[in-house]
Subunit: 95 residues, 2 copies
DNA sequence: ATTTCATATGAAAAAAGATTCATACGAGTT
DNA sequence: AACTCGTATGAATCTTTTTTCATATGAAAT
């Protein structure tokens, strides 16, 4: 039941917190506490969101000491967001 | 407040019904009752879903007699779904 | 102008998803 | 082995999104 449908995949992009995390990880890989601190969002919220992103392989993680470092799957995410931006720009000029 | 963020945009792809509609309209433009019949889904559900798709300019509509014919904004949608497919294929092999 | 058919819309109910909070787990330290 | 720190997880609650259903609107036909 892995990425069974578009549903799970796109859910990650239709949520403000997940988008914030994605965008933070786009600048550099980070561990959970860094994300939590940088976004000023409580840790378990971050962890729950990351679980969903991980589930669809939109992020990867590696252990480093006590920390778990998350990095973005840019290969998918960057062009995807670019498409959305382009759409907005073409069809949603009015803010 | 039009397409203010990724949120509204991607919400259209993280919903099974909207995806079904998108996929139906990808084969050919259709009016509401055709969609309703083809997908075996009640009319007002279709209309509500279409309203959300329209809001983000993912579909267009034109009046034809009593019917309103909807067509897909393929320019955005097709490459977007293609990206998602490619992702699944690369990272979600196991079903 | 009334009727009919197709679609849209609003509001209440239901379902899905997110947040919270308490706690568990796991890696490293002492 | 006990402790600490960082992260994950589960369950209850809260919020958002969908569905349902009744009704409104709008275009064409009579």
């Amino acid at each position: 039941m892995k990425c069974k449908s578009y549903h799970f995949f796109f859910r990650n992009f239709s949520n403000p917190l997940k988008i914030k995390i994605i965008s933070a990880l786009n600048s550099k890989e980070m561990c959970v506490s860094e994300l939590s601190e940088k976004l000023k969002i409580e840790q378990s919220k971050i962890s729950h969101a990351l679980a969903s992103l991980r589930f669809c392989n939109l992020v990867e993680s590696k252990q480093k000491g006590k920390n778990r470092i998350y990095s973005l799957n840019k290969k998918t995410v960057v062009p995807l967001l670019k498409l959305a931006d382009k759409h907005r720009q073409l069809y949603c000029k009015l803010k």
